[in-house]
Amino acid sequence: MSTRFYVATRKGLFTITKQPAGWRISDAAFLAQNVPMLLHDARDRALYAALHHGHFGSKLHKSTNGGKSWEEIGVPTYPEPPKDQEPDKCPFRGIPIPWRTELIWELEKGGRDEPGVLWCGTVPGGLFRSEDGGKSWDIIKSLWYNPRRKEWTGGGLDYAGIHTVCVDPRNSKHVAVGVSCGGVWVTKDGGETWACQAKGMRAAYMPPEQAYEENAQDPHRMVRCPAQPDVMWVQHHNGIFRSTDGSKTWQEIENVQPSVFGFACVVHPTNGDVAWFVPAVKDEERIPVNAKVVVTRTRDGGKTFEQLSKGLPQEHAYDLVFRHAMDIDETGRVLAFGSTTGSLWVSEDDGDSWQTVAEHLPPVYCVRFEKPS
């Protein structure tokens, strides 16, 4: 069971450690700085933190001693846009798409057979890969220059972004990425070629005739069951979707109470039928239903859901849980999630009950357990 996790927030990176008295904040780094993303790499126990300086751009830092000290490493950078063609423009808003790293939105490790390989998803939609533990990064040209990439649109942000990278544990060259808004893109050859695989996803916000357009889907977060890699879950803008064939097709899960809208989702490490979500009132409101924080859990592949609320605030709670702000440990028993209003909860009984770890943190962007390799 994991006894430590990390929390990236609008104003710093916090380490949470299980102590005799309970889960406690045991360390803080980058205080007052915006940390939109973090990664704990179980292969070599390195810790990565993305910083988003409002004035000075995005940076990446790495620690090889559990966060005691940090060094700045390379940062993904975009190539020069072609001079002989019109600038890319958002198809919805008509605004030019910058070829610049606007935000580091996802960090993920490569496969077990790829030491040093890291993936990085960014806004405005570039996917990057490092083969040297983050010293240097290369944009995945086959995706960035794919003409269909220009169809992507921003969701809540001005530009599209890659927020999820799922590496297949059976084959490190098989990688699926989630794009808001651009569906799910999959490579089977380590990034040489890509295909959009969002068949079955539905976007009610689009004109009706385009509701099933794969490249227009807005998956908020996508997870893959480590022991059953063909089982994947997506918390989508429009609801919850599940695939049992490795993202080739998706089935919509409807009638989940209190809501199918949300951002975060996690899947059990060995049982793909078990997944957790944090619901909210849909897009135009984005607050907990009836101001009560609940986690929904399915144990049967989405046929039924339970609402888990023991230990969570049940009145006047306005916590929203962002897409990266929930995680599960390697046992599937310990979960943690944090909210936009700085609350942080942990469960040691797979969600049946929750303990409050903190109530006054900065807005939480990302929660990641320290897991064994």
């Binding site: 004035h55 000075f56 940076k59 700045e72 950078t77 610049r100």
Partner: protein, 89 residues
């Protein structure tokens, strides 16, 4: 040689001591500065060498006009001052 100094706000992230550098344009001066202080480059310029959206470069108290190519002239006694654009209320 022009005198080049930086806002205090940048110092918490990367050391940028005041320095002197030769050059007839902002680009020439800053290229010299960043050859000596490579970590500072990405804090002031983006990946294409343009001034970051929320940064400002002053030459003798006047904000430069060419934020892309940095062609604004710099005199031998000029003061190049680099700061963040303030925003918000």
């Amino acid at each position: 040689m022009a005198r080049v100094s930086f806002t205090q706000n940048i110092q918490r992230h990367v050391a940028c001591p005041e320095t002197r550098a030769p050059g007839n344009t902002v680009r020439e001066v800053l290229e010299h500065v960043f050859r000596e202080n490579a970590p500072a480059r990405g804090y002031v310029l983006d990946e294409h060498g343009e001034v970051r959206r929320h940064m400002i470069v002053f030459v003798d108290g006047v904000a430069i006009k060419d934020r892309r190519d940095l062609s604004d002239p710099v005199g031998p006694e000029s003061h190049v001052y680099i700061m963040q654009a303030l925003s918000g209320g």
